[in-house]
Each structure stands twice: as structure tokens, then as C-alpha cells.
Subunit: 407 residues, 2 copies
């Protein structure tokens, strides 16, 4: 068995999420032989013997405090842009907003890309390709720039302008695709199969973005003093973070660092693209058909058939969670309301979670006294804000005082 003694990490092997087949972790892999995501497995017993939780907690509060839970070996320098621990902002009624907009490139995608790009560099890759609804492409572009790699980003034609501009700002080549992220993904798979050396960074089609996203779960455990909150609302496009957090909780439980009940995991989508909700409520084990037609404007949930559908549904069942869908109107109202009433600028995906929580409390699915984590997966600045016209009253007041101050 390949142990971390030789690799310098605690990784023992990669494992097919469908068949359990083991593969070595010392080379590049995409999906497993059966076409399923590969999961990184660690020598948890040795971690349990080696790791000192208090020592880890005393480190600088960023993603790399969890280095022992990550696949980078001791010689692999992380590609880092300052992945600080994200805050929990109390927002009334048991709600805590986990604000992932504070990360590099303004989104949670930084976590996965920091690890995936570090590993790609470790394996000698120099040219990356990624399909994206926007934020993953921006993060790939930034981390690729930091690593001195070429990055090719495939994104739907209707991706928000700010994100496309951001991708180009970071020096990546952007390819606008007529279609959704699944079409982008097919193009990336076709290209990486033919163009020499392009490395496919599609989420769950390589094993390391999931590991980066896992740190969301590790942080939550730390921030709650190793006793987890009641329920987690997470916007589910590809679902990598959803799967990753649950993986983190299992690993922490094996180490004995947490005990008690784990949170109920709530997958949040919109009516205009809710394949997970449909599959879960129909008792299916995976998303069988792509959701169609996709009508939601919320970019992060425009994923008609997530590659990790089976894993997402497993987490919903194991955590006794559920799937929730809201309307785009409910998203926009929640976003406007919390900005005006509490000063918090959520992305639409975060606002969807807030709206879902309100529906669940009204329906009795979530208790009003329960501690509920709302994942705000990106900064509100990446989403167009309404245009502004000064009111007549404001213009009149300015005019009056301009006279008074002698201008």
C-alpha cells in the first residue's frame, strides 16, 4: 500500500465512488474506469495517531491549516492567493451566513481550484481547461495565472459579463459556448481527449477540487467548536461542496474530533433548474435525464445533470436532509431584502438559500430556533445590481445646499 510516508501526504489511494475500485494516487486520473468520480482516501488511522487538533487550531486561520487533510505532499508548494477562513455572519433567527465571497476571486470556487491547480502543477501540467457557469472559470484563471499556466475557460454565452471580464483579466482564453455548462463540459472532454496535454479541471472529473471544497466542512467544525450546526443550506449546481462537506464530517468523525448528530444537508435549487430535487423526491439514486428547459437566471444552479448526482443524493439520504427549490423572484426578493435591512450583499445562489430557509421554517421543516448555515457562495459584486437614478428630492436638496455653501 502506498502510504503517506513515501508521498509526504496522508493520502492512501483514490477510490471509485461507484465500485470502490482502488487506484494509485501518484499519477493523473480523470474519472474512474466505470466513469464515476474518484474520491481521495486518507490513512485516517495514522492521521488520528499523528495530528494534534490544538496545534492545527493555533495556525493562521486559512485553508492551509487543514493541509494534513489535503492531497499536497510536503514538497508540493500550494498555489495560494490568500484563502482566509470565511466568516459566519449572524443574520437573525438562528441564521448564520457563511460568506464565501471573501475568498480570492470572490467565490468558494477558490478553495477547489487552489488544490486542483496545485496538484496539476505537481503533476507537471501546464495547460488547463475548465467548463464553468462563471466563478470556477474565474478561479481557474486566477490560480492558473499564479501558477504560470495557460488556462482555457469554456462558459455559456449568457454568463454574467463581470465574470467573463474577470476571466480575461486573469489572462485566460475564454470560449463562449451556445448552451449550458454540460455542453461546455462535453467540449472540454472532447478537447482534452485530443489536444495534447490540456488538463481537464471539470469538477468531480478530477479528484482534487472536491478536497479543496472539503475545507468548508472542516472550517464549520472548527468555528462551531467541534459540535456542528443543525442544518446547512447549500446552493447545488455541481454539488461539489455539498459532497465535500459531508466527506469532511466523515473524516473528522473517524478521527474522533466531532461527535453527536451531523447537520441535515439541504440542497437548494430554483424551479428553473432543480434536477436534484426531482430525482431525490422521485426516489431515484441519480439524476437520470438532464433537466429541461433550464429557465432560471441564477448562474450557479444552471447545471441540468450534475456529474455528482449520485453522491449528492447519498448525502441527502445519509444526513436526513432534503432538497428545496425556490423561484427566481423569491431569490431576487431575498437578495434585495437582506441587503437593505441587514447590510449583507449576497450572490443570487446565497439568496436562494436564504429564501429556501424561510420557506422551510414556514413549512415546519426547519425549526425557527435551529442553527442554520446559509452558504453565500460568492460576493454580490459579481451579479449586476439595479440601475440607479437620483430622486427629484435628492437633486433638490443638493441644489439647495450647493447655493448655501456658495458653489
Amino acid at each position: 500500500m502506498q502510504t503517506s510516508r513515501s508521498s509526504g501526504s496522508y493520502v492512501s489511494h483514490l477510490e471509485c465512488s461507484r465500485t470502490g475500485e482502488r487506484v494509485e494516487h501518484d499519477r493523473v486520473h480523470g474519472l474512474s474506469a466505470s466513469g464515476a468520480p474518484l474520491l481521495v482516501r486518507y490513512d485516517l488511522n495514522r492521521m488520528k495517531a499523528d495530528l494534534d487538533r490544538d496545534l492545527i487550531c493555533s495556525r493562521t486561520a486559512d485553508m492551509w491549516m487543514w493541509r494534513a487533510f489535503l492531497p499536497l505532499d510536503a514538497e508540493t508548494q500550494p498555489v495560494s492567493l490568500g484563502e482566509t477562513m470565511t466568516p459566519l455572519i449572524p443574520a437573525g433567527g438562528g441564521i448564520m451566513i457563511k460568506d464565501e465571497g471573501r475568498l480570492p476571486t470572490g467565490s468558494f470556487k477558490a478553495r477547489g481550484m487552489a488544490v486542483a491547480v496545485s496538484m496539476a502543477r505537481h503533476f507537471g501540467k501546464t495547460e488547463l481547461a475548465v467548463p464553468t457557469a462563471g466563478n470556477a472559470g474565474a478561479a481557474a484563471a486566477a490560480y492558473g495565472a499564479a501558477a504560470g499556466m495557460n488556462v482555457n475557460v469554456f462558459t455559456p454565452e449568457d454568463t454574467p459579463k463581470v465574470t467573463v471580464q474577470e476571466i480575461v483579466l486573469h489572462g485566460a482564453d475564454v470560449y463562449q459556448v451556445p448552451g449550458l455548462i454540460d455542453t461546455c463540459g462535453k467540449i472540454v472532454r472532447a478537447i482534452t481527449a485530443t489536444e495534447t496535454g490540456w488538463h481537464d479541471l471539470s469538477t468531480l472529473a478530477e479528484p482534487y477540487r472536491l478536497e479543496g471544497k472539503k475545507t468548508m466542512g472542516l472550517e464549520l467544525a472548527f468555528q462551531f467548536g467541534w459540535s456542528l450546526p443543525d442544518v446547512i443550506y447549500y446552493p447545488t449546481g455541481g454539488g461539489t461542496g455539498f459532497i465535500g462537506m459531508w466527506k469532511a464530517f466523515q473524516e473528522l468523525r473517524h478521527l474522533g474530533w466531532i461527535d453527536g448528530k451531523l447537520p441535515r444537508m439541504v440542497s437548494v435549487q430554483t424551479h428553473g433548474c432543480n434536477p436534484i430535487k426531482l430525482a431525490f423526491e422521485n426516489g431515484q439514486d441519480d439524476v437520470e435525464e438532464p433537466f429541461s428547459p433550464v429557465t432560471t437566471v441564477v448562474p450557479g444552479v444552471r447545471v441540468p445533470k450534475p456529474l455528482g448526482g449520485r453522491l449528492i443524493i447519498e448525502v441527502l439520504r445519509a444526513s436526513e436532509g432534503h432538497a428545496c427549490a425556490v423561484s427566481d423572484d423569491e431569490v431576487m426578493r431575498a437578495q434585495a431584502q437582506i441587503a437593505a435591512q441587514q447590510g449583507i450583499n449576497l450572490c443570487p445562489e446565497g439568496a436562494a438559500c436564504l429564501a429556501a430557509h424561510a420557506l422551510d421554517v414556514a413549512a415546519g421543516k426547519t425549526g425557527p430556533e435551529e442553527t442554520a448555515i446559509i452558504f453565500n457562495t460568492a460576493t454580490g459584486f459579481k451579479w449586476p445590481m439595479p440601475d440607479v437614478k437620483p430622486s427629484a428630492a435628492s437633486r433638490a436638496l443638493v441644489e439647495r445646499y450647493m447655493g448655501q455653501i456658495g458653489r
Copy 2:
């Protein structure tokens, strides 16, 4: 003497920055009787006796770990939106970027407003007014919303659209003024003198924004293990953070928490508005005339006559620092270059500091081996990015593969 035993903070009094006159801190003040900024003074001897540096360092890494250095008494609940410690990102050649874009509302203004709005609420204020080049208004709007206050923001007509939208999003009333921030400031002073109860949040015209900004200096000392870096590049509009950091260093030195040489403080402006550089290099003690005409497009330095000019120049002299000016072209080039080469999305004010550092290294004013802090005062998302058109090559590649995947 009013001590912290009665107030629950370590504040002893407020002091006129020009005459040294003492005033009590248990009521609302604007400028001193002589028209100068009031500085908050603490009972540093009692702090030295009471405070345990290691205990403070073990707290959650955010602004409130420094609560003993802030004016809030024990009963005053901070108005908080998650003011996490901002990261230092290594950017090659001794450069560390202090990324203040990670704070609420995406800028360093959150620090000052968190404290000023908390104190305004403590004093029973419910209606705020602030002149701003943009970011301070956005922060005032957000913290005002969080505190349940009405906020009136006076901003130049040419303030970047994203920031004006953000101010409105947070429910504030925005007043667009023909002129620069000094005209906005005059209107706010005229209004707060007449409209009953509006509280003037102009920087340095109230004593508490400076205290919030001071936490930048406290964080740096902590992050560098109580041995400060060689030189700090800071974009100087109003200069509150520049003055605040120096104040922090003095307080820390009094406590014996730092020793050795303090950093050289470099004030960075652009050729299109550099009143501090002109006054400092002419040997003046203050900015005497407003800089005119203001032609720079960098919003944060469009301050023709900062209220704290005297204090900024004192810091330049005391720290053996200097003032630097760069062109708008140099700013834009630095911004594009670091984004494409290192994956870091700076605001123009941060890019100005990076450009100034490069000029100083070339001129031998800063050693290439010296540790230099570049303050990135806001996220790059608040500044318009160049428009993007997909290249012909990218369109051709997408078309080719669309055929191949059967779409």
C-alpha cells in the same frame, strides 16, 4: 480623570490633534474647538498592566480581537458584518499585498464604519450623513442598514456606478453632487448643522473611524510576529488609515508589544491629485490650498485637500517616509499586469501603490530585498473591467467541437 473603570473601555479622553486640548469622551463630538480632528486617547498604562497579548492572539482572527484598543465600552454591541483579518499575499520581490478587499462591502472602509456606526448607535443617533468618493458611502450604507439607521450618502456625480448601486442596494439615500468629495463634505457639514439630528460621519470630523482604521496597523504587527515590515505603501486620499496605522504603532510601542524600527510610511497619490506630495516636498506642515484641477480617474485619491493633511505629513516625517505619485497609465498597467501574471485583482488605489513601489525600487528609494506592504484598499470588482469580445480563434474552436459532440 474619566477612566475606563466607569466607561468600560480603556479610553481616557479625546484630544485635539492641533492644540492638545482635552475633551470628555462620554458625548458626541465633531472637530475640536480649533477645527482640528480629535484623537482618542487610552489609558495605556492600565492596558499594559491588564492585557495579555497571547490571550488576544488566541481569539477569532477578526477586527474585534482588538476590542481593548477600540472605544466601544463593554455594553456597546459592535455593529458587525464579519470583519475578518485580511490576508497578506506574497507577490514576489519582498512585496506583500494586504488585501482589504476581503472586508464587508469589499473595502477597508468597513473597519472605520464598523466602529463609527457602533459609536453613533451608542450615542443614540439614528440618521447618518457622509461625504464619500464611493467606498465609505457603501460601508456607511451597509453598517447603517445593519444598525437600523437611515443613511444619507453624498457622492460626486462621477463616482463609479457599481458603488452608487451598492449604496442604494443597502437602502441608503444617495445624493449626487456636482464636484469632488470636498464639496460633498461642505454640504454634509451645512446639513448636519441644520437638519435636526443628522450625524456627520465625515472621516476625521468624528473621532472613531480613525480608531477602526487603526486595526490595520494592529493586524500587521500581529501578522509579522510583532516585528514590523520595512515599508508600507498606502493610497492616500483622506489618509485616515495612514494616520491610524501610525497611531497603532505608537500604542503598541507604549505597551512594549513591539520594538525596533517602525516602517517607513509611503503616501501614494497620482499626478492628477497629489496635494500631500506637493505639501510634503515643499516643506509645508499642512495642505494649504486644494489641489486643482483634479484629473486622475482613481476615485480614492480624488481628495484635493484632506482634513488630516497635517497629521499625514507628521507621519511622513516621523517615519522617515516619503510621498510618491504615479500616473493613471502606470496604475492601469500595474493593475492589468498583476491580474494576468499573478491572479490578483487589485483596485486602482492598490495598483497605484504597486506602481509606486516599482518606481521607488528603480530609483533606489526602497531596497529590492525590503519587505514592502502594498495596501489593496478594495476589491477589484468595484472598478469597471475592460469589455470582452471572444476572438475569432476561440469561436472557430467552439464551432469545431460543437460539431464533434453532435450539437
